[in-house]
Symmetry: C2
Subunit: 222 residues, 2 copies
Amino acid sequence: MKASTGSDHPHIVLQDLTSASPNPSVMDIKIGSRTWGPEASDAYIAKCLKKDRESTSTPLGFRISGLQVYTGEESGFYKPDRDYMRKTGLDDVKLILRNFVSSNPSSETGQGPGPDCSLVSYVYGGPNGILAQLVELKTWFEDQTMYHFHACSLLFMFDQRLTLEGARSNAVVKLIDFAHVTDGNGVIDHNFLGGLCSLIKFISNIVAEANDHTGTNGEVEV
Amino acid sequence: MKASTGSDHPHIVLQDLTSASPNPSVMDIKIGSRTWGPEASDAYIAKCLKKDRESTSTPLGFRISGLQVYTGEESGFYKPDRDYMRKTGLDDVKLILRNFVSSNPSSETGQGPGPDCSLVSYVYGGPNGILAQLVELKTWFEDQTMYHFHACSLLFMFDQRLTLEGARSNAVVKLIDFAHVTDGNGVIDHNFLGGLCSLIKFISNIVAEANDHTGTNGEVEV
């Protein structure tokens, strides 16, 4: 393909992931307890390590770096500010993962009944839901030794209206922000995989709780 | 139980793992790309990080910290010196994991035919071999959120003579050196799990290669 300068060279084709969705609910989760790669300088490592330790990256193996949840035509989007997102701890992460699939998201921990998780079986659960997609991704990461993804994110995305109209999951998981990918050299990406397994455990717990309450198996009942 | 001082307090009962084995072949593998825990001081983290980066801990998710392989009554034990073990890189790790199940272990890379992996199906392969035990351990680590193991090792152990006489695996995997265990706080030990998955991939490759050569499925044929 020709570049705008007229010269011929390889291009990366970018996809606008939310273009088909009128009101996308989106969550960006940076995966891995370590966000620096093998060729990083000491200064860059020190900077990343500080952020990883101060955020949930080191303790949890991932950190949530962005969130917007569509809550309705009048209320619009729930979108916690950057300052809140930067300071999230273990309890906040549990809350945010619930907020993402709730009609009443809130940043208040320990107040009132909490998020209702009304969309959990549409978005996280079910045969095509986010949990199933994460488990599939995990299987790939257990085997692939070509790429190591540093400071890379998983994007969770769904459209509430399409979900409720279609009565089936349109939730997708995408690997994004792959600016820092290095050669795996025949070794699996154990840093990404560890964080992914930790995230899977959190999502599994939410799906299991919802099933306990409703008596379903996390699949959509229509 | 009473202590030697006469006072009553809890005891840890230690097991001598190799006591039943006349000539144990033993390998000690420190698991995890990060060997420091959440309460470590900055100075301790800097010390560990240096070691983790200089060894294979950061790139591979584990490092081999000790090895002895029994090779016969006359030749005794193959036991590479500490200096060699401290400097192992990716290729050395591949070699050492093969040496452990070979009758002709050697520290020379790229020379001659290399280790014969004659015991691979007895030790790594088979329904009760080390690979099967590692996969079982992985399943536990994907779910348990009580303990985080820092700078903890897996010990691989078998007795060559008992193996050949019994014609079945007596290989065992044990979790050892658990001096730095902290509360998991409801989070899986993603650091240990990532390293364990990486080790499983290395061992799987060796078992698969052996199967390719022999046409067996890694089980003992008697």
